[in-house]
Amino acid sequence: MSVDAAHLSTALSAPVRHETGATKTATGAFGRRLAVLALRQGSMAVFIGVLVYFSIAAPYFFTVGNIGNVLGQSAIAGVLAIGLTIVIIAGGSNVVTGGIDLSLAANMGLSAAVYASLLQAGQGDAVAIIGALGTGLVIGAINAAAITLAGIVPLLATLAVMNVVAGLELVLTQNTVVPASSDFLSAVSASGPFGIPVLAYVLLGFAALVAALVQYTPLGLRLYAVGEFPEAARAAGLRVKLFISGAFLASGLCGGFAGILSVSYLSGSTTGAGDMLLPVVVTALLGTVFSRRLVPTIGGTLLATLFVSSLINGFQLLNISSTLVSGVQGLLILLVVSATTLLQRKGNQ
């Protein structure tokens, strides 16, 4: 890295004065900033407001035990949402043509089934882990190929892959529960330090690792450039398709990883993994409102994961029908996507 201002001093010996209001940014930017601020602060306020309400209405809500519970329960969705976030970063946040991976939940289901089936077949945890991660990676590779080689939009490509994967899971498990137990699985689903589930630590650790990679390395910066403005990325010498493929591989891997966590959490592989899709999409989209630039970030996604899980947990504690949760999640998607789309459109004017 030898880029610095040194050679510029020969190119330009004296400054050219920029007279036109040097510190003034474009008109309209202020209004947009204000709206973004309102959206962010508003979301935070709603988040905190909901937590306070639950704490008052259901005193058990705000206890170390329950918070640990929430974290543990959200581990699987959180890992999937982090995978989806990577894809949205690299594919762009346009809801129709941008990055999305609908196959993530089904991927988790199949990976879990592979893991449980391998244990049933007498294999050890190491083989099962490789099997589950490998399954996720292959699914990611198929997505990547369909999108970058065949040129299908991610929304459609991953929808197709989702159905194929869900079908494979049915074939493998005959639509039944495949129980699985091992020392490793028990260790992961156990309670860790401070009585908080190990799964909670796994989520936090994983989020920290991916956040370091995505928010703090050149790789991450380039990933954002590819998603936000592919032409600019190309002009900067980046190989756009390579980054997009990489993002889908990473997301596939997240699916496999979430599969392992789910086998541990549920002591086996169960059907109905597809139900996980909606909360994961809500989480990843909701995460964007926690960022100043209204872009997906790993930190924002982690916050959103906790919000969505608290919501589900709070509803349970208050004995509100769980069928309502789906409706609330659908509403959240509509709200978040309209707000960010409107603001982005305003920003582009």
Binding site: A11, V16, E19, T20, F229
Partner: protein, 513 residues
């Protein structure tokens, strides 16, 4: 090939010789040459379609030449790849600024060559921030808040960021493609000062612009392209904007314009002080029945926006529009068509016709209520109308049931006009009506425009082809930076007069404040 100045060849950093480039049947370049002397600012001008952008894309490695040689710094290349171009130290400052809007200035500057915190894989954001702030302040006097995002900068600020990005790579050659298109005058002056300084420090500049006044101000040498070849390379000191303009204009096809003599009738459309914020201001004109009025102007001059306003696609922010003395307010295309206005848009394949409908369906598309019978479509009446129009406009099609997609460009354009004839529209707004059609079809379209006027309609033609415009209109209004700066009587005007006005060659530049 008519190079009137011969340089010592060793001094040329870029030499493009006898370049030929075809796209399908169309010949974009037919033996163009360009020699740029080291350490100079070299202008490149030409009308739309003269081959400027093709030549630049060849230099950028985006196209490969069919014939000819490219020499950079004394080495000959059959073709270049974008990577090679960058390696050779050639950088492009694009019209559309390629910067990620959600990035900070530091991130945008260093994308692709990010500094890392020593000994870690992590971005050195502090260094990115400090270095970029330091460079921008020291060399451009530009101070931006640390957190400023690219999307929040003005066009001029973005351009400075883009130039800085190129400078970080220590370039030998900088190519500016219409850099002032989005700048106001003061910002453009700043850019010129900067370009001269870069030249004085030894960087060679290739400068492409429509504004001839800029070329004369800024460049040392200018090459004029016309019809895919270079017609002259001149030292700017020994020429003038008018002479350059005259060289750009094509004089070969002047006899193409059959213009019937129509005496203008009663005033039909009257605009008084019409304005659209930041686009154009103070447009007043009267259009008579039987009159063909020409509009022309560079991209962003406001001419196209005026047509869009008249058709209800934009809402005027000042002034009034009156049709036959009655003030009208067209807030939507539906309201405009009801007032007998018709727009034939520039991109006819996208906006002008429905490619996958038949000729018959297209011709009646804007007037379907005339063909209804008890809520159903009277297919017989529709077809009779279509046949009549096919006959009248001499649309070359196998039948009224052929898909419009199968027609030639010129015939598609006739269908786009037929749609409004069926609607009995009387004020025709034609946006670049002959773009992309062959010469024979052009003449047919011109004849059709003449017929419309002869039948008492009023026609406004917006075109960037000045020969065409003078050939088919009665009057031509020139837009420059948002205002009508000049009115010409077509029959008494030569193309270079219009071009000089259009490009601001004999203007002190004006713009809408």
């Amino acid at each position: 090939m008519a190079t009137s100045v011969v340089w010592n060849e060793a001094d040329d950093i870029i030499r493009l010789s006898d370049i030929v480039k075809r796209f399908g049947g169309a010949q974009a370049l037919s033996g163009a040459s360009l020699a740029v002397r080291r350490g100079t600012v070299h202008g490149l001008v030409g009308q739309n379609g003269a081959g400027k952008s093709t030549l630049i894309k060849l230099l950028a490695g985006l196209h490969a030449a069919d014939e000819g040689v490219i020499e950079i710094d004394g080495t000959a290349y059959a073709s270049l790849s974008p990577q090679q171009v960058e390696h050779l130290g050639i950088h492009f400052i694009h019209q559309d600024r390629l910067l990620v809007p959600t990035f900070t200035v530091g991130e945008a500057l260093f994308l692709g060559r990010e500094p890392r915190i020593p000994g870690t894989p992590f971005l050195d954001r502090k260094r990115m921030r400090q270095t970029s702030a330091e460079i921008l302040d020291r060399y451009f006097g530009l101070r931006l808040p640390h957190s400023a995002l690219i999307g929040e900068l003005t066009a001029a600020e973005k351009q400075i960021v883009q130039i800085t990005r190129a400078l970080l790579d220590n370039p030998k050659i900088l190519v500016f493609d219409e850099p002032t298109a989005a700048l106001v005058r003061r910002e453009a002056e700043l850019l010129f000062t900067l370009i001269r300084r870069l030249r004085d420090e030894g960087i060679t500049i290739l400068y492409i612009s429509h504004y001839l006044s800029e070329i004369v101000d800024l460049c040392d040498t200018v090459t004029v392209l016309r019809n895919g070849r270079d017609v002259a390379t001149l030292p700017v000191k020994k020429t003038s904007a008018k002479e350059i303009g005259a060289l750009m204009v094509n004089r070969d096809i002047a006899e193409l314009y059959p213009k019937p003599k129509v005496l203008p009738g009663r005033p039909f459309l009257e605009l008084d002080g019409l304005g659209l914020a930041n686009r154009y201001a103070d447009v007043s004109l009267t259009l008579h029945r039987g009159e063909v009025l020409g509009l022309t102007g560079l991209v962003g001059s406001g001419a196209k926006e005026l047509l869009r306003t008249l058709f209800g696609l934009e809402t005027a922010t000042a002034g009034t529009v009156a049709i036959e003395g009655e003030t009208v307010f067209s807030a939507s295309p539906a309201a405009a068509t009801a007032k007998r206005l018709a727009l034939v848009p520039e991109d006819r394949r996208r906006d002008g016709v429905a490619l996958d409908l038949t000729v018959s369906e297209n011709t009646t598309l804007a007037s379907l209520d005339r063909f209804g019978r008890a809520g159903l479509l009277d297919k017989g009446a529709e077809k009779r109308q279509a046949r009549e129009l096919i006959e009248r406009l001499q649309i070359k099609t196998d039948s009224a049931d052929a898909l419009v997609r199968t027609l030639s460009g010129g015939n598609q354009q006739k269908v786009a006009i037929a749609k409004w004839l069926s609607r009995q529209s009387e004020i025709y707004l034609l946006d670049e009506p002959s773009v992309g059609v062959d010469i024979a079809a052009k003449v047919e379209i011109y004849t059709l425009i003449g017929e419309l006027a002869a039948r008492g309609a009023a026609v406004i033609v917006l075109s960037s082809d000045i020969d065409e415009l003078l050939g088919i209109t009665d009057r031509v209004l020139v837009f420059f930076r948002g205002r009508i700066t000049r009115e010409f009587i077509s029959a008494e005007t030569s193309p270079d007069q219009v071009l000089a006005e259009l490009t601001g060659a004999n203007e002190t530049l004006r713009h809408v404040g």
